[in-house]
Symmetry: C2
Amino acid sequence: MSGSLVIIGTGPGNPGQTTPQTFEAIAASDVFFGYGPYLDRLDLRPDQVRMASDNREEIDRARAALDAAMRGAKVCVVSGGDPGVFAMAAAICEAVENGPETWRRLDIRVLPGVTAMLAVAARAGAPLGHDFCAISLSDNLKPWDLIERRLRAVAEAGLVIALYNPISKARPWQLSTAFKLLREVLPVTTPVIFGRAVGRSDESFVVVPLGEADRQQADMATCVIIGSAETRIIERPGLDPLVYSPRGVGL
Amino acid sequence: MSGSLVIIGTGPGNPGQTTPQTFEAIAASDVFFGYGPYLDRLDLRPDQVRMASDNREEIDRARAALDAAMRGAKVCVVSGGDPGVFAMAAAICEAVENGPETWRRLDIRVLPGVTAMLAVAARAGAPLGHDFCAISLSDNLKPWDLIERRLRAVAEAGLVIALYNPISKARPWQLSTAFKLLREVLPVTTPVIFGRAVGRSDESFVVVPLGEADRQQADMATCVIIGSAETRIIERPGLDPLVYSPRGVGL
């Protein structure tokens, strides 16, 4: 008798941003697979089993989770944010496609969550107020020149850009190179937002013009939002400014 | 004494996908501004006031909401999905920027939510598993040729595309034109997902190849996700196929 597998996202980290449907799925699961710090966010019962792994072992984790479900467990695979945005849902699908035929008979569900760019955008105002994109800056799984082509294409097309995985110990220079490239296309006054752990007690949140954007302002857990040429800042006395991208353009 | 203004999103429509933080903000508010069908999703108390308006009156609604907050009300502005994605957060910012100086002193908060493309993607598997973008197909607020340029640029760059506002009575032809343009760039086998009211009892969900994608499959409330050339379909016996975009490309 096979079990089931549900893939969830905890949201940006504040439990007030985790959906009720996700809390229900957690309560109904037996075994939890995920990156340790994401599993730490869950308030598990003593009868629930925790299988933590390193952040870079996604495919092995996916296979182990599928295997446990095939043996009858109610498995929960845990991502931060939304599980479909640079997270575990695609890794599970890859493992299913390349795994044994029997894995295709499993009951697999994905539950949506609040992804980081939406939380950072909400904290800022409405920088994603018109057309936008999400690009991972990690060249672990795609060539760097493809990332550069994509950044140039979307900036020239006027989309707001949310960068995921902007920097890590193994990838120290990519974010600086991305800013340099974007300064060739966008005004140096374009607002750039660095948001980290937004909605949590260790939140960090900074807005700077593109001309002053520096990789030092980001770490692995930062989501960087780069405006379009239309993105604006409304200064407010005694309050954080509002950063927003007008809904209309070019009319 | 001025009040406050909070901008929320109910998520795709299933209350299990509305965040606890959003439910708290609803409970703490006095007056609710929004498009009627979104307000209908709220379970308001008799002492809470409902100010419904038509879908196309966003700036008037934003001004009325700001005005009510200035008079001391605890105002809640209600969007579907996430309030920062083609929704009310940008309209409120626009109204603040162009309104009286006193509006800049208001306590304004935006709370993130689950936007439609994330719910449709979760229902399908992981079609947003690599770089992606969100584009509104409405030419009410931007010229159609800009939309065409953007569609071509992002499809050529290999991004998965989520289309919001794909069709309406006043905009009957734009979606067909978009499919035609995308067929010039992407394989006709590229998966196209039409998701509507995902997670609700009146859900509709269809996957077709780009060569057969037809505007008849969409209405105003549909989110259309168009894969990249890498997006794949895993057929599963007795179950819906999984549609996903592999995390890696070109290595």
